[in-house]
């Protein structure tokens, strides 16, 4: 088990399996088809993202460097949140970008979903974490990463 410390953007606690994008996460491209076809599993539709294309995002601890793409990104994240197809938390290795921050904050204030968001977890976090590792997010910006549920 490894522990990483980041900055809390939106507070909350959660435990979920990791889904890792080692490259910039294009919010619109990733959620577009799930929103359009009401796919509750939030299957990633960004064919340019080799890490998470066709993987299910809903209920996962999404680990990423930053988001990229259209400035509708924050609004898309808000919509995904409101419709319940959102990841269980967002964990950024780098400082959060303005579009992702907007999405996380809009979700927090304007929907019933809670989307705990931590940034600044460092490059080492993204190098270490792998798909399906168990992630536990604490209220103080601590993120615990274990190989299995028992490791935490």
């Amino acid at each position: 088990m490894r522990e990483f410390k980041g900055r809390v953007v939106v507070p909350g606690t959660v435990k979920a399996p990791a889904l890792v994008s080692k490259e910039g996460f294009n919010t619109l491209a990733s959620f577009q088809k799930s929103l359009m076809f009401k796919d509750k599993e939030g299957t990633c539709s960004d064919q340019n993202n080799k890490y998470i294309y066709k993987k299910k995002m809903a209920g996962k601890a999404l680990c990423l460097p930053q988001t990229i793409g259209s400035t509708t990104g924050g609004m898309v994240l808000y919509c995904a949140s409101a419709l319940g197809i959102v990841p269980s938390c967002l964990l950024f290795s780098k400082p959060i970008d303005s579009l992702a921050a907007a999405g996380a904050i809009l979700s927090d204030i304007w929907t019933e979903s809670n989307l705990p968001t931590i940034d600044n977890l460092g490059d080492e976090f993204l190098e270490y974490v792998q798909d399906n590792m168990t992630i536990e997010v604490l209220d103080n910006g601590i993120v615990r990463v274990g190989d299995t549920d028992e490791n935490i």
């Binding site: 953007v9 619109l28 491209a29 577009q32 929103l35 359009m36 009401k38 064919q47 340019n48 990229i68 793409g69 259209s70 400035t71 509708t72 990104g73 924050g74 609004m75 808000y78 919509c79 949140s81 409101a82 419709l83 959060i96 970008d97 303005s98 579009l99 921050a101 907007a102 999405g103 904050i105 809009l106 927090d108 204030i109 304007w110 929907t111």
Partner: protein, 451 residues
Amino acid sequence: MVKYLKLQEQLMPLPVLYRGETMYNYKMNLNQEEKEILEGKKGEVLAKIMKTIVMYGDTFGASKLVPVTSKYGHLVTSFGLSMMKPVYSLMDELIEANIVSKQKFTVDPRPLDFENVPSSFLQKIVFKVMYGKQRDYEAQLHKIGLLSEDGFTCTCYMDEVGNIPKKGDILSWAESSAVVYANSVLGARCNRNSGIIEMFGSILGKVPYFGLLTDEGRKANWIVEVKTSNIPEAQILGSAIGMKVMDEVPYIKNLDRFLGTELNNIVKDYLKDMGAAAASNGAVGLFHVENITPEAKELGNKLLVGNPNTYIIDDEELKRVKESYPIIWKDNEAKPKLCFIGCPHLSLEQICKWAKDIKDKLKEKNQRKVVIPTVLTASPKVLEEFKKLPEADNLKSMGVSTTYICPLMYMNNPLCGKMPVITNSNKLRTYTSSRYYTDSEIIEVITKEGI
């Protein structure tokens, strides 16, 4: 007990407490009026809007809120896409609370124009389902503060449209190509905001003071040296810069060799297209061009931070960048079915130039019409002016149509996305399956018989 609490609330209204939440522990300095809004003294919905903006600013270390000083706002969300239901519910919440924007706003382009953009029977059915909320959403925009019925364009800063911020104006915009243009070419100040956030800024008339609003945030941490033998294609130069510097600020040198030092309409159009590519292929919100853009003219090298990175762009580098674009058509050799020119929307000068260039090429090849249906996009106001010119009739007779739509929204239709579409826009290439060609290549392709 509930009754008692309700009675107590009537007698002594409690601060904030919307949805039972506790007061947000903000970090920035707020004045009395801003605090009162946040505390819910001007209503629950306005308190939520203020909380969103303050929390957004706190995330980026904003010291305070500052007034939005531009005459008009501009919203990125122009489409009544059925999948965006939560946005329409949010708009209803604002309207029910009698929230009106402090400034009128223009909006990005509309998605549909069956009259001027080719689409099949099936594509039309899908469009009607996809954008089934368009009329309702536009009615909501009117209630919140839409400037005018024809205020739908991504190039709201064109003279014909009239949403032109002044140098130093503080904006609450989100459309990435408009933000980078306003910051760089007009010298206004705006962060790369998300949709909804920009509307909240216009409603409050306030935005958080951080990033590209500050002198420090406008300094360049990259020097881009243009060492090409000819004027670079604006769309590829912008793409190269965007992919290299991502969300940082470049200071571009030696472009004045090709563009001169006067910020005339031709130069503005070049920088519009270059900036849109830099904003979409990376996340550039501001660039400076030595001896051309307002702040570079005023401050020169003082805009550079200590020890900036350097990126040299020569002919080889532009070739490398262009060749790196993936082609994601099912059949790479397919004959294109449609060509889009104008993302971002074209200026009047640009439409006239395309009309002339296509006419000249057809004459040279002894042809009357283009062989691929070609669509030029521009704002309704620019098109209104263009239609007064003889070039408009010529264009129609050559098989070229004009429209006010956003080609990106056309390509979002899954049936359209499967078609082999070509474009001269690096933004459209980035977000859709369309294939990029330079301006001169486009002219050749759309007039090439037998392909």
